[in-house]
């Protein structure tokens, strides 16, 4: 059992948890994840470690409630426990002083981009952070990013805050301004990462993405998370989750992530019905979920 030390919402359905896990906190490097089971009969889900403190023995997870398990987790508060936390897993981010490094986070992807931005800064990079959200309330970790990045550009799809447009448009603007960008890290929904890779490809900017395939054990034992990168198959849990964005077959990843869509929606509906959410909100959520999967 792992104790939750702190729990607070950063955005609607996006919750930050500080969890007591001294062993993982001591080991964890940027880009790594843990496998979490909320309850003793729950499913295993991968969650990237957003932050950690080795002295105090905790790690931070930032969770977007999209399915039953993540929504269930988001009902937990400080003092509660989660049943299992295993890790740190995956290959840490490759960090070096590239020069100017752009960290792009879309939605909850910012939570994953944040620790790597910290590491990039520590390695001596000039760090530009682009934070994307549908509306203002979905722009997360701006303060934290401002503490590490040299430049921070929040963007909203509806223009309710910061730059009005997609993160790719902001990136394009920087390129058009003639800024020299040496490295781009893009983490967020699959269409966003694909779009970023498309922007940087013609400019030859090295681009790394963090993939979120379906995982089961998270230790290389099952192959559920296999992805195609440069025509070769890799297991994201041990070979990744970060890969060369210009080589990733995003379409395949998007299709594979749809494998259990029907089942996931049924489980989610059951969960929401049980937890008394209004049906109209429920329908909206399902529509959002479908949109994210596209």
């Amino acid at each position: 059992m792992f104790r939750i030390l702190e729990a607070r919402f950063l955005a609607p359905d996006v919750k930050l948890f500080r969890i007591e896990a001294p062993k993982i906190a001591a080991k964890r490097k940027a880009g790594q994840f843990v496998i979490v089971r909320v309850t003793g009969d729950g499913e295993r889900i991968p969650l990237t470690i957003a932050d950690s403190n080795a002295e105090e023995g905790w790690i931070t997870l930032i969770v977007q409630g999209v399915g039953k398990t993540t929504k269930l987790l988001n009902t937990r508060e400080a003092g509660d426990t989660v049943h299992d936390v295993a890790g740190p897993l995956g290959t840490p981010s490759h960090i070096e002083n590239f020069g100017t490094a752009v960290s792009i986070g879309g939605g909850v992807g910012t939570a994953i981009a944040w620790p790597t931005a910290v590491a990039l800064k520590q390695a001596g990079n000039h760090v530009i952070s682009i934070i994307g959200g549908r509306t203002r309330e979905y722009v997360i970790l701006e303060e934290e990013m401002r503490a590490v990045a040299d430049e921070v550009y929040p963007c909203t799809d509806d223009g309710s805050y910061g730059f009005h447009g997609f993160v790719t448009q902001k990136l394009q603007e920087l390129i058009d301004e003639g800024r020299r960008l040496d490295f781009v890290l893009a983490i967020g929904p699959i269409p966003m990462m694909k779009a970023v890779a498309d922007v940087t490809r013609s400019h030859g900017i090295r681009t790394v993405v963090s993939l979120n395939p379906i995982m089961l054990d998270g230790t290389g034992m099952c192959g559920a998370c296999r992805v195609t990168v440069g025509g070769k198959t890799y297991f994201a849990c041990v070979d990744g989750p970060e890969f060369d964005g210009h080589q990733v077959d995003f379409d395949l990843l998007a299709k594979r992530n749809m494998t259990y869509r029907e089942w996931e929606q049924r489980k989610l509906q059951e969960f929401l019905a049980e937890h008394g959410e209004e049906p109209c909100r429920l329908e909206q959520k399902l529509r959002d979920l479908e949109k994210e999967g596209e």
């Binding site: 062993k23 009969d41 295993a86």
Partner: protein
């Protein structure tokens, strides 16, 4: 002593049939297929044993169980003593009695088998182990004298459990680290309930807890702690690596990443460990009710997967294997059971490509007929494609069960532990010693994918060597590496 029967009388007793669930019933449930001997069946079967002066069966057993003696005890209805006799050499008889390939080991050597059917040694082993467990006769008391030495066991599968058992009995403090949230390794994530009820694995683990063994789940050694850290900050005096062969192989053919193509590990883990077969499960598996499922491979894992698919309601569940049935590595009993349950066997057939629809879902496999050519390095005749024999078979789900490689986690994080080019750990076959002082290894991570009993045997041998190392502190460096004994 066994009752006085003449050899002729013994030969006249037919091999006793193991009661089992009828095929049409069991193909719809996940309960154990075999129901086990009762006392009378067991005694009758034991009476078939000739009590050979030089028991060949024992030579056929990878851990040399005193088979003749335990069978004599069964014939005398001393079932509890029979269980103790087996446990002198094998700490997991209830498991091995169910999953060992007896027909290639002890029963292959049985003298009775030269003229008639061999003595059902596996069924008897299972019977006495179940007898002992069900009557609460399993004894485990922590040793009174402790050595003060601490041993870390990495992996809670058959190698780790048997190593832990012996070390704990020798008075060492033993901690078992498991990466998953549940203990048992392949015994819980791989082998299905209908072949090995998990209750049996849990009973074995409870025994170990009574012996004072400590278990830590969610501990991914190599990541959570490295092997070096176990020996330094962890305060362990020795480490045993029994991490198994946990990296599924794929075939490298087009379409293998389509939705609906599973590794056997994934499919079985979803169903066994995560209980996806239950309607209220929190982990999904693709719904195969009324669908066509093809499993590629001819080993026990392939049989487990195809029979699992059948139980999940598959309309058509097929084994597709590139050699002939004679070359299949699976236990005879599994092949027989699969056939009885309606599994189709397409032998001398190999997939060339998986075909998908526009959404990336599997819809068919392009298959090719094979014929057997000259024997290859493994001594088995090599399958050769027949030109122009390709055809398309519609399938909704494919399971790849062609074996496992070694997980790279320890190799990546402990360079001092030498690995072979196959990714397995270089270890002395007798002692399990690796190239790192104080670190031993055994089971599939050394041999490549093999059997439960070989892993358990390696765990026991390593326990002896670890005990000696802990008492003497002597460590001699390893000799030459050997390739894994894998086809």
């Amino acid at each position: 002593m066994a009752r006085k029967l003449t050899a002729k009388e013994r030969f006249q007793i037919p091999r006793q049939h193991m009661p089992e669930q009828p095929p049409e019933v069991r193909a719809c449930n996940f309960e154990e297929v075999n129901l086990g001997f009762d006392e009378d069946l067991a005694v009758r079967e034991a009476d078939r044993c000739l009590q050979c002066p030089k028991p060949k069966c024992e030579e056929g057993c990878p851990v040399n169980i005193k088979i003749r003696d335990f069978i004599a005890l069964v014939a005398d209805r001393k079932f509890d003593e029979a269980a103790k006799k087996i446990k002198e050499d094998n700490s997991l008889p209830a498991i091995c009695g169910r999953v060992c390939p007896q027909e290639e080991q002890c029963e292959a050597q049985c003298i009775v088998g030269k003229r008639s059917d061999p003595v059902a040694i596996g069924h008897l082993e299972r019977f006495v182990a179940d007898y002992e467990r069900k009557r609460g006769l399993m004894k485990a008391e922590p040793p009174t004298e402790k050595s003060g030495k601490r041993v870390a066991i990495v992996g809670s599968g058959p190698a780790g459990l048997s190593c832990a058992t012996d070390l704990a009995k020798m008075g060492h403090d033993v901690v078992v680290f498991e990466a998953l949230h549940e203990l048992g390794g392949v015994l819980v994530y791989g082998i299905p309930e209908f072949r090995l009820p998990k209750e049996i694995v849990r009973a074995e683990i409870e025994q170990l807890e009574k012996l004072g063994v400590e278990f830590v789940t969610d501990a991914v050694i190599g990541m959570t702690d490295t092997v070096e850290e176990l020996l330094t900050v962890g305060g362990f005096d020795a480490v045993f690596l029994g991490v198994g062969a946990g990296l599924p192989r794929f075939m490298g053919i087009p379409g293998e990443n389509l939705v609906g193509v599973y590794s056997a590990n994934e499919f079985l883990t979803r169903v066994n460990l995560m209980k996806a077969y239950r309607p209220d499960a929190e982990t999904p598996v693709l719904d195969v009710a009324g669908k066509n499922v093809a499993v590629f491979g001819g080993g026990n894992t392939a049989m487990d997967a195809v029979r699992t698919a059948k139980r999940l309601g598959a309309k058509r569940a097929s084994i597709i294997y590139r050699r002939s049935e004679a070359e299949m590595p699976a236990r005879n009993e599994e092949i027989k059971h699969a056939k009885e349950e309606g599994v189709e066997f397409l032998v001398l057939t190999n997939p060339v490509e998986f075909l998908g629809d526009e959404n990336g879902w599997l819809r068919a496999a392009r298959l090719q007929k094979m014929e057997l050519g000259e024997p290859d390095d493994s001594g088995r005749r090599r399958p050769v494609p027949i030109e122009g024999s390709e055809y398309v078979m519609e399938i909704d789900m494919a399971v790849i069960a062609i074996g496992n490689g070694a997980n790279p986690m320890i190799r990546k994080t402990s360079p001092a532990i030498e690995h072979t080019k196959w990714g397995t750990i270089v270890a002395d076959r007798k002692t399990g010693k690796t190239t790192m002082k104080g670190v031993f290894a055994g089971g599939d991570i050394v041999t490549g994918g093999a059997t439960v009993i070989l892993a358990a045997g390696a765990g026991r041998r390593a326990a002896l060597a670890i005990d000696e190392y802990l008492r003497t502190g002597r460590w001699e460096d390893l000799g030459q590496e050997e390739p894994p004994a894998e086809a």
